[in-house]
């Protein structure tokens, strides 16, 4: 195979820099995980050589295998291993000899493995050593490769990092300055962040009670209430009201899930307008499930009649239109419904669990943000749609990955005084959670 590379180390001994230069170079370059991998392997080889009474000249071959870039191995790994073994003085890489060690490098489930099989010389039989290290940025760039995303006129910008394990997100002006803060409901706590210039500043953390066991579906719902309060519900059974001023939880109505995109029509204001949130409508909660049961109810448990399906994942009201709703049904179908008419599909593709509606470009028509439902293991896509006036269809304005992770929460609000509404998304990628803003740049 073309990638198969047998590198006889000793063949390039003549090209090595002088000892002093090597020492200076090594001090600067060899302090990270690549150096550690080389050192671990060399130590293991030397230890085994001493146990098996193998010493002196040995022919070393290094072969890159699964997930390893051959050229980078030759450039980054081989010279360091040669240098390290020579300095160690136990084994001397040589172009010829009766003893031979074949080193194979491979990536296996997040670990770089270096295995060496030595035979010949004075060895009674073949002997093997293996060392591993977790793949980190340095090993990735020294032995592997990476990728980057792109975007258009709707601009995606990174806001900063938040704690991992986010379940839902709401934007809420907690201090009355006309700018919304980010309230993030996580598995372990509710956290509030202020949006700074280039990063997020954590303002408050309130741990969730730990008396609940999580089901397999780990999810939560968060909705702002008038008076800088939040209503949160989780699939573990938490139902709480959080007061920003008092920083404490109180019990919320049980069995209900707040739908922050569906304000109570009696309140008559947009959920995240600068004027403050309206009380949201709610749906019935089903234990351990992301699917909610309609009819919609007010917080006082009065029913609100709609023509929506009986089981939904999210419901939002279309701003400026009475009794007009968008919903994700049980199977991920995006539907629209108005007045007493039956609901009708709004897009062919299935979408993710949550909807966000906001007039991002201030043209008087709201845009709809969803995540495209993706197969396990594939990155999520953010999808921005324009709705037809008669709500018979929608067209995709913008579609993009964030940085290759899962979109776990989305909400809308105003991040600048007097600015247009923006959408904030939380993406989880590995152990990191990133907050992004999606905004329109005219």
């Amino acid at each position: 195979m073309a990638r198969a590379l047998a590198l006889v180390l000793a063949a390039s001994l003549a090209g090595w820099p002088a000892a002093d230069a090597r020492a200076a170079d090594g001090a600067a370059a060899d302090s990270g995980s690549l150096h550690a991998l080389v050192d671990d392997l060399a130590r293991a080889l030397e230890r085994r050589a001493q146990q098996e009474k193998l010493a002196g000249a040995v022919v070393l071959e290094v072969e890159p295998a699964r997930g390893i870039d051959a050229a980078r191995v030759e450039r980054a790994f081989v010279p360091r291993l040669k240098r390290r073994l020579k300095d160690g003085g136990v084994l001397q890489p040589a172009p010829e000899g009766s003893a031979r060690c074949r080193v194979t490098l491979s990536e296996e489930r997040g670990l770089i493995w270096a295995t060496a099989l030595c035979e010949g010389g004075g060895l009674v039989g073949p002997t093997a050593v293996a060392v591993s290290r977790p793949v980190d940025k340095e090993l990735e760039s020294a032995l592997g490769a990476t990728v980057t995303p792109a975007q258009t006129r709707f601009v995606l910008e990174r806001l900063g990092t938040v704690s991992p394990g986010a379940l839902d997100l709401a934007l809420l002006d907690t201090n009355g300055d006309g700018v919304d803060e980010l309230a993030v409901l996580g598995v372990d706590a509710l956290r509030v962040y202020a949006v700074g210039g280039a990063r997020l500043e954590r303002l408050a953390v309130q741990s969730l009670p730990t008396d609940r066991r999580w089901p397999r579906v780990v999810t939560g719902w968060l909705a702002p209430l008038p008076g800088a309060r939040l209503w949160l519900v989780t699939s573990a059974g938490h139902a709480l009201l959080w007061d920003a001023a008092l920083s404490r939880f109180d019990a919320a109505p049980s069995g209900l899930v707040p739908l922050r995109g569906a304000p109570d029509p009696a309140a008559g204001r947009a959920v995240t307008s600068a004027g403050g949130p309206a009380t949201p409508l709610a749906a019935r909660w089903r234990l351990g499930s992301p699917v909610l049961a309609l009819p919609l109810v007010t917080i006082e448990d009065a029913q609100v009649r709609t023509g929506l399906p009986a089981l939904v994942r999210d419901v939002v009201a279309v701003p400026g239109r009475a009794r007009t709703w968008l919903a994700v049904d049980e199977s991920g179908q995006l539907v629209a419904q108005s007045g007493d008419a039956a609901s009708a599909p709004l897009a062919a593709e299935r979408v993710g669990d949550r909807l966000v509606v906001a007039d991002l470009n201030a043209d008087g028509e709201p845009e709809l943000v969803t995540s495209a439902s993706s197969a396990p293991g594939e990155p999520d896509h953010l999808v921005l749609r324009r709705l037809a006036r008669d709500l018979s269809s929608s067209s995709v304005l913008f579609r993009s990955q964030l940085s290759g992770g899962s979109i776990v929460a989305a909400g809308s609000g105003r991040l600048e005084p007097g600015g247009r509404p923006e959408v904030v998304l939380i993406e989880e990628i590995g152990d990191e959670a990133l907050a992004w803003r999606l905004r329109y740049t005219p």
């Binding site: 194979t104 999580w214 780990v218 992301p290 293991g377």
Partner: protein, 466 residues
């Protein structure tokens, strides 16, 4: 096998096996409920039923989202493992003593661990592992924990416990499902750990119309789920067969290279495993052993035709044992018979039984390592097959205490040494690898394949909202 017999088998048998569940992550979160039909070969019916009826002692953490990881944290000090039964694992005296903290019912957990680690009354690969190294274990249960006292240090105890289930003769189901009829598993309340998503699972025979089919034919639109590593087809040689060199491996004109060329592993995999297989490089399949060096170029293949002359009835005969009912094994047996005939020998093909060794002949074994840990995988084979451990070089490699080291690196190195000793001794010859796969309904998500190939359906759901 008929569907009825498959179901009857489930009702009657629940064999041993550990568990390692994981959660698939998708932005449209799964809704609980629904029924799944699963078509399985008979040998997987028992382990699959047991895996769903009895709670695993330890589960390996697979690919989860951050929320799932936080909601179901790993065991402190063991980031690869989590449990709904065990709260804490600590070792003392260099791994000779392990304290297993449990949330409830320490006596029941202790009984289950004793059965699993000693193999009391049940087949158990962790017991095979300990037996192969001559390690014994005393299990004592006290308030809040179970103590395991091994006769020698044992490092990879979490890996071994992952092969154990919370199953005792006295207790009923402890997992997410209960067997309500032949081949029918129904969701139950009160399981250790979070409840499963599917409402019921029906186990059916191969060929039945099913949502998940073991080794099913490729169907347009359906997905394919591959087990994390392939099975290995091994040829076990008795000492007599090796001395007589019935395969011609020591014959300078034929040799190991001639044997491999004559076997045509690639064609066998294409004919009997839908092309999902290849010539085996070692006893440990890719995915269990780290990547091996590429084979050295040996020049072009010389595919000389095999000379199939008629042999007299009194020609030397070789006993060739194999498990029945596996098309791939049958195909390899036929090919071996042709090779033996070319070497002037007739093959007597007989059915192998679990207690048999190669009885002076050859045995074909389709082996699946029960764990991804290479040292434990080889020890489980050694513990099960006494005929493989007689060679002095193999005994020397088996006596390496690093096989049960706490360091994964040391275990891998020791396993590679044992594998090499077995292969050099000629007792076990790797012939080919064959993937284990399932065809999956395109709407079905969240199926996890345990390392031994058993499908786990705790997180399975139909994305179409069935």
């Amino acid at each position: 096998m008929t569907p009825t017999s498959a179901r009857a088998l489930v009702a009657l048998s629940c064999l041993a096996g550990g568990l390692a569940a994981g959660t698939a992550h998708a932005r449209r979160l799964p809704a609980p409920g629904g029924k799944l039909t699963l078509a399985l070969p008979v040998e997987l019916v028992g382990p699959t039923a047991e895996a769903h009826v009895y709670a695993p002692i330890l589960e390996s953490v697979t690919v989860d989202g951050a929320a799932e990881r936080l909601a179901r944290p790993t065991l402190k000090g063991f980031p690869r493992w989590r449990s709904s039964v065990v709260t804490e694992l600590t070792s003392q005296e260099g791994g000779k003593i392990w304290k297993v903290g449990v949330e409830a019912q320490p006596v029941q957990v202790g009984d289950a661990l004793a059965r699993c680690l000693r193999g009391d009354g049940t087949a158990s690969w962790p017991a095979d592992v300990l037996r192969a190294r001559g390690v014994t274990v005393d299990v004592t249960a006290a308030q809040g924990d179970v103590t395991l006292r091994f006769s020698a240090p044992v490092g990879p105890v979490p890996e071994l416990l992952a092969g154990c289930a919370l199953r005792t003769p006295q207790a009923g189901p402890t997992g997410s499902y209960t067997l309500v009829g032949p081949g029918l598993l129904r969701w139950r309340n009160g399981a250790f750990g979070p409840p499963a998503l599917l409402g019921s699972i029906e186990l059916a025979a191969p060929g039945a119309r099913a949502d998940l089919v073991a080794g099913g034919a490729d169907v347009k639109g359906a997905g394919t789920l591959l087990a994390p590593f392939p099975d290995v087809v091994l040829l076990l040689q008795s000492a007599e067969a090796k001395r007589a060199d019935v395969l011609g491996l020591d014959d300078a004109a034929f040799g190991a290279r001639g044997f491999r060329q004559a076997l045509r592993a690639d064609l066998l995999a294409a004919a009997y495993a839908q092309g999902r297989g290849a010539a085996a490089e070692g006893l440990l399949p890719p995915g269990v052993a780290p990547a091996r060096p590429l084979p050295e170029p040996q020049g072009p293949e010389r595919l000389a035709p095999l000379a199939l002359t008629r042999l007299p009835p009194d020609a030397p005969r070789v006993l060739l044992l194999r498990e029945e009912g596996d098309a791939l094994v049958d195909g390899v047996v036929e090919r071996l018979a042709v090779i033996l005939r070319n070497r002037g020998r007739l093959a007597d093909i007989e059915r192998a039984s679990a207690a048999d060794d190669a009885k002076g002949g050859l045995e074909l074994l389709r082996w699946r390592p029960p764990t991804r840990d290479p040292a434990l995988a080889l020890l489980s084979l050694a513990g099960r097959r006494k005929d493989l451990v007689g060679d002095p070089a193999v005994q020397r490699a088996l006596s390496d205490p690093q096989l049960l080291s706490a360091s994964q690196d040391e275990r891998v190195a020791a396993a590679l040494g044992l594998e090499r000793a077995w292969m050099d001794a000629g007792l076990a010859i790797p012939l080919l690898t064959a993937d284990r796969w399932y065809t999956v309904d395109p709407d079905l998500r969240g199926v996890v394949l345990r390392e031994d190939g058993v499908p786990l359906l705790f997180d399975a759901y139909f994305a179409g909202g069935r």
